[in-house]
């Protein structure tokens, strides 16, 4: 039950793009076609789950016992960068088809702030999913990160669908490009606000 609450709250109520403002760059950048958006979303989900798992273990078994919590930012970004690089090499070797589908998105993910953001979030904030507030354990952290990534995917694919339609409509010249995309995102965020209150 708790996992279900985590998933619903992460995808809809606290949507990573539309209410927490993480990963806006790929959200605006690669969301012009539904296919690319889906590819990006899949790659992010994969990387986010793995990196949260690894950074969680590093935080609790290396940084905290040694008392070097201030090295968190530096360590996490290096781990994520190395992990992305490694996933790229492994995918190329064992699944060329998947590498072809996700390959071009992988290098972009290192600087996607939602990966680092979620990794830091799960080890630094207390969460209360219906019950008492507590730090997340390993299982919850990974579920939370996958759910966050799915939320990213939902927002990205919805937005790409709308933008494909926008291409064909008549937009005032000054609003062409980014401004109209931002207004669309604002309306989408307004719609997602309807979910708030669903999970305490």
């Amino acid at each position: 039950m708790e996992y279900l609450i985590i998933i619903v709250s992460a995808i809809f109520v606290n949507n990573i793009v539309l209410s927490q403002f993480l990963g806006i760059c790929p959200f605006l950048g690669v969301s012009t076609k539904v296919n690319t958006a889906a590819g990006m979303a899949a790659a992010v989900t994969f990387v986010m789950a793995l990196s949260t798992l690894v950074t969680y273990l590093i935080q609790y078994y290396i940084l905290l016992p040694l008392g070097i919590g201030f090295m968190q930012t530096l360590t996490f970004i290096l781990v994520i960068a190395a992990l992305v690089q490694m996933i790229e090499i492994i995918l190329k070797k064992i699944s060329p088809a998947m590498y072809k589908a996700l390959g071009i998105f992988l290098p972009l993910i290192t600087t996607n702030c939602c990966v680092l953001g979620v990794a830091i979030m799960v080890v630094s904030k207390e969460f209360s999913f219906g019950g008492a507030s507590h730090m997340l354990n390993l299982g919850e952290s990974v579920v939370y990160s996958v759910a966050m990534a799915l939320g990213f995917g939902v927002a990205l694919i919805l937005f790409a669908g709308i933008r494909e339609q926008l291409e064909l409509s008549d937009i005032p010249k000054a609003f062409k490009g980014i401004p109209i995309a931002l207004i669309t995102a604002g309306i989408l965020a307004l719609a997602f606000m309807g979910f708030s209150g669903l999970v305490k």
């Binding site: 806006i24 530096l74 953001g117 606000m193």
Partner: protein, 195 residues
């Protein structure tokens, strides 16, 4: 190009928010009030200026193939210094900006300037570029924060000028997107003829 020219270019022609559209996450996430926006802008500027200077000094010694990881380490080091400084001297602001401070590491403005400017210019010019882009970012964030604060809670820089509540939506997520979109359009119109 003169030093002043580089700084001015960063503020207007290469404005990171309104023209280059980089670093959108902190732009939208931290501008709930003018003070918060300004704090975030100054924090980013601190990292930007220092990392620009160091990267321009070290660029000769960094092998080309591993330059991006090297830049990230340099940037992450300055972000860590910033985190410790802010925790010590402005803990309340650090609390409010929260997650967005460590996320300066992955702010595309910082890495973008390292790659596009600092690694092929002198330390002095890179410092000016950092100041210019940093000021452009700070100004943009302050203006966005000010508009959202005025509409959303009826105050400016923390001083209330109407009684009662404002339009809450402007402090929340949707307002951030709307305000940024309209300000971007206005900025584009105003600077259309600036070369």
């Amino acid at each position: 190009m003169s030093k002043a020219g580089i700084i001015l270019k960063g503020i207007i022609k290469d404005n990171p928010t309104f023209v280059l559209v980089l670093g959108m996450c902190p732009t939208l996430g931290t501008t709930t009030s003018a003070i918060n926006g300004m704090g975030m802008g100054l924090a980013t500027m601190f990292v930007l200026v220092l990392s620009n200077i160091f990267i321009s000094l070290l660029a000769r010694y960094i092998p080309d193939k591993v330059r991006i990881p090297c830049y990230i380490v340099i940037i992450a080091a300055f972000v860590t210094i910033l985190q410790l400084l802010m925790q010590a001297y402005v803990p309340s602001l650090y609390e409010v900006l929260g997650l967005y401070i460590p996320l300066i590491v992955v702010n595309c403005i910082v890495l973008g300037r390292a790659e596009a400017f600092a690694n092929k210019n002198t330390a002095m010019d890179s410092a000016c570029d950092g100041i210019g882009i940093g000021l452009g970012f700070t100004l943009a964030l302050t203006v966005i924060g000010l508009v959202r604060e005025m509409l959303g809670s009826g105050s400016a820089f923390g001083v209330k000028f109407i009684s009662g509540d404002g339009m809450l939506a402007f402090v929340l997520a949707p307002g951030a997107f709307f305000v940024l979109a309209y300000l971007m359009v206005i900025f584009r119109q105003l600077t259309k003829n600036v070369k």
